[in-house]
């Protein structure tokens, strides 16, 4: 059997507005830019892709299945800026062929800094998915597929998830294939679903690359590659950013017609099928333990944290955000808490990356800043203001402390 499992990541951050040290306004986010980017991507990607996949599901009468991880942040933006996207996701959820995956509401790196905050954000996300789609996520993916044994243990302890999705990085698999279900060490309940990065990247990155020897990629060619897994694998995990369709790969590359034809081509082989992540773990047992003592991610070629923690600005900013956790929480002010959590979204730190800055590449995607230095300055100015607001909330109009703060 080769069970193809599609999972799409859907996320856009709340980008900060230009904020200098002289600004004192408590409004940190660039409403105009966020709205226009959200609408633009909705028109180029989210809406046409949702309609196309909905159409394929109906056409194949339920034999085509997919899964999504929608961050809380993008769902807030859809509600605010383009509610029509919400209704297409509703329609997809109603087919019964779509699974929603759990993650941190704010697409944050909180797992690395604050276990309490991490669990709080996972719970907040689960509540939102339950409320919107009536599903309780059984499978978890951490921001940017950041993963280690420690994450598995933390998730196992919540007792709410059955599997974790992460990168099928070569250095954790050795000569094993990503086309099987694995499990983490020291966990009884959890299974691992690993991304088949080769086949995933053929669609996500190489699809329109004219220098690629397999160009042009057609649905029947891709189906043949999937067929080869029959007999030496159980599942083919195709995990990618949803923006692949229409945004990373523009419509004129033929990406939509490829996706429209791919399911029926894959189903031509009688042993192939489509499954959601939950169906995969229910159908297949773990074949082996995958030990990941060090943190991995799906980013860049390094598959590590260097895109978010690669320079002193990034580690400094992250450290400073989590340093004020107790201060923010002591205020018991929902507005301050929400602002603080929005600042945790990993994109803010990604913009500060100096790794490939000189070359210019994927790191530029909807990056609102001219340089990583500008993004750091802006972020730190906002954070300073937030900190000041938190401290001030303990002081009444006469300048007297209201409560004891730490």
């Amino acid at each position: 059997m080769a069970s193809v499992c599609f999972y799409f990541q859907v996320h856009q951050p709340f980008r900060l507005r230009h904020y200098t040290v002289f600004d004192h306004s408590p409004r940190y986010f660039d409403e105009f830019k966020n709205a226009s980017i959200c609408r633009k991507v909705a028109n180029k990607c989210y809406l046409p892709s949702n309609r196309l996949l909905l159409d394929v599901i109906r056409r194949l009468e339920g034999r085509f299945k997919i899964s999504y991880s929608l961050t809380g942040v993008i769902l807030e933006q859809f509600r605010k800026y383009c509610p029509e996207v919400m209704s297409t996701f509703d329609a997809l959820a109603e087919t019964g062929c779509v699974e929603f995956i759990g993650e941190t509401y704010y697409h944050s790196l909180s797992f690395l800094y604050s276990p309490d905050e991490f669990i709080a954000q996972v719970n907040k996300h689960t509540e939102l998915i339950q409320q919107l789609y009536g599903q309780t996520p059984r499978v978890f993916r951490n921001t940017e597929l950041i993963y280690s044994n420690a994450l598995a243990e933390t998730i196992e302890k919540t007792g709410r998830f059955d599997a974790i999705i992460t990168e099928g990085a070569d250095h954790i698999l050795g000569n094993r294939s990503s086309n099987f279900v694995y499990r983490p060490p020291n966990c009884r309940r959890l299974k691992l679903l690993l991304k088949n990065y080769s086949l995933s990247d053929d669609i996500a990155f190489r699809f329109s690359n004219r220098g690629w020897q397999e160009f042009p990629l057609t649905a029947d060619k891709f189906a043949k590659w999937v067929n080869r897994v029959n007999g030496n694998g159980h599942c083919v995990n195709l995990f990618m950013d949803y923006e692949t369709f229409g945004e990373h790969q523009w419509e004129d590359t033929g990406i939509f017609s490829f996706m429209s034809h791919l399911p029926q081509e894959i189903l031509k082989h009688p042993d192939n099928c489509f499954m959601t992540p939950s169906e995969i773990i229910d159908s297949y047992d773990a074949v082996d333990v995958v030990d990941v003592p060090h943190i991995i991610s799906w980013a860049d070629t390094e598959r590590d944290l260097s895109a978010w923690l690669g320079n002193p600005m990034q580690s400094g900013a992250l450290h400073d955000v989590y340093k004020i956790e107790s201060l923010v929480k002591q205020t018991q002010n929902e507005e301050l808490l929400a602002d603080w959590r929005q600042l945790q979204t990993s994109d803010h730190f990604y913009y500060m990356c100096t790794k490939y800055f000189a070359d210019g590449d994927v790191h530029k995607y909807f990056n609102p800043y001219e340089s990583p230095y500008d993004s750091y300055i802006n972020f730190m100015n906002v954070l300073s203001n937030l900190k000041k607001r938190c401290s001030e909330s303990f002081v009444n109009n006469n300048g007297q402390p209201l409560r004891k703060s730490s």
Binding site: T20, V21, F22, N311, P312, M313, S315, G316, A317, T354, F357, A358, E370, S371, P372, Y373, D374, Y376, I377, M380, N381
Partner: protein
């Protein structure tokens, strides 16, 4: 490859970046094994240029005498470079008054005679004598004197030198040497390359000196190829001087690796050890945007106390800027050092926490590269050529003093920013060496010589 190079400055006789650039470029060309004859006007001792004393052997004649044979100087590190100096009481960046078409007369003369080699020398001698009379007359008036006759006489002397030299290509640096370049090219028939380090629009904004513009324009149109120090400058050459784009190549400047013997910051006179230092280093002129530096300084001081702003350099706006600082009420926070050179430059760089170049118009700007070489974070205006090559620096529009102050404060307030800028900036600047520039110049020469 033999190059006949015409310059206006050469260290230690420098008043700005041109001399530094000429030195760096010729040194790198020397290392590539190219032979260079470098012709510069010889500066005459004057109380305004105190540094001249350091090289007294060059000061072999007194002001106002009839110029004798050009002296030849040799630098130990420049094996293949011959420096020829021509007596001159001038320094670059002086505003000239007028200019005539002496070279055209000379050429007319050349066309009129059948055997040029004989008569051209006579004509040049006659031309020189004429200019000498003018110089003698003007030298009594005031320092700086008459730029026109200077350029003019420099051209005549250069031609006299050139007809006795053997070379493949003429390379002229900035407008003062263009007439000489044209004259030498016309007389010898060798291709002329002009190197544009700055244009009249960079120096004077929109209120250009028509005479200088005309000299520049003529030089650009007479040249076989033009080397611009940045795309910013290339665009000005194309749009303002009506030159075809295919004729203009961009060769970025480099920076020399600073010597060893780095010392720890010391001698913070008038500056407390816990105070941060923001440095402006350059001529205090309109082009360099000193008033924007002050306006940003005032904004910074509204937010932070322990900062000093050091302005190193002199220029025609110096007094206005000192007064402006006083009027703003930040006089005690802004220090003026005057013109610095050598060890003093090194020292001031070592003391600084941030180097700011708020230039209104900067064709390139070598100083930020030097600052990066000294491990100093750098903030430059987007209106500078060097902004095209540097990524690990802060950039700001020169007029946006709010943003300038915001970024200055960020560097002083957030240590990780300073750290990252230092680390990456120093690494990046190591790739920008004069050897690259010299190779590109050689490619330009070769492309011309192959065509001929």
């Amino acid at each position: 490859m033999k190059v006949f190079m015409l310059g206006w400055e050469f260290p230690p006789y420098i008043s700005g970046g041109l001399g530094t650039a000429c030195h760096g470029l010729t040194k790198a060309m020397n290392d590539l094994g190219m032979e260079i004859t470098f012709v510069v006007p010889k500066p005459i001792e004057s109380n305004l240029s105190a540094h001249v004393k350091m090289l007294s052997p060059l000061q072999c004649r007194s002001l106002g005498s009839v110029p004798e044979e050009q002296s030849t100087t040799e630098f130990p590190d420049l094996k293949n470079v011959t420096i020829k100096t021509i007596g001159s009481p001038l320094e670059a960046y002086t505003t000239p008054q007028y200019y005539e078409q002496k070279i055209e007369e000379l050429l007319k003369q050349r066309r009129n005679v059948s055997d040029p080699s004989q008569d051209i020398e006579l004509a040049v001698e006659k031309w020189l004598r004429e200019t000498d009379e003018q110089i003698e007359h003007l030298a009594h008036e005031h320092y700086g004197g008459d730029m026109y006759s200077e350029i003019h006489r420099y051209a005549a002397s250069a031609v006299r030198l050139a007809i006795r030299e053997d070379f493949d290509v003429i390379h002229a640096h900035d407008w003062m040497t263009y007439p000489a370049g044209i004259a030498v090219a016309s007389v010898t028939g060798k291709p002329l390359v002009i190197h544009v380090h700055s244009t009249e629009f960079d120096r004077s904004g929109e209120h250009i000196n028509q005479m200088i513009y005309d000299i520049e324009r003529r030089g650009m149109h007479a040249a076989t190829k033009i080397i611009a120090v940045s795309y910013l400058t290339r665009n000005i050459i194309i749009t303002r001087y009506g030159v075809l784009g295919e004729k203009v190549e961009v060769v970025y400047n480099g920076v020399e690796q600073n010597g060893d013997g780095r010392t720890l910051p010391f001698n913070k006179i008038g500056i407390q050890s816990n105070e941060k230092i923001v440095l402006f280093l350059g001529r205090i002129t309109m082009q360099k945007g000193p008033e924007y530096f002050l306006m940003a300084a005032r904004k910074v001081l509204e937010e932070m106390e322990n900062v000093k702003f050091v302005m190193a350099g002199t220029g025609d706006m110096m007094h206005r800027i000192i007064e402006m600082a006083a009027q703003m009420g930040i006089g005690h926070k802004v220090l003026f050092t005057g013109f610095l050179r050598g060890k003093d430059v090194e020292k001031i760089y070592q003391m600084a926490d941030l180097y700011v170049m708020p230039s209104v118009s900067e064709p390139f700007g070598i100083a930020p590269l030097e600052a990066l070489n000294y491990d100093i974070p750098v903030l430059i205006s987007k209106q500078s050529g060097v902004a095209e090559v540097l990524t690990h620096v802060l950039k700001v529009d020169f007029w946006d003093v709010n943003e300038m102050a915001n970024k200055i404060i960020a560097v002083l307030k957030y240590p990780p920013l300073q750290l990252t800028l230092r680390e990456h900036g120093n690494f990046e600047v190591r790739r920008l060496r004069w050897s690259g520039a010299a190779e590109k110049c050689r490619n330009v020469y070769q492309s011309i010589l192959q065509k001929n």
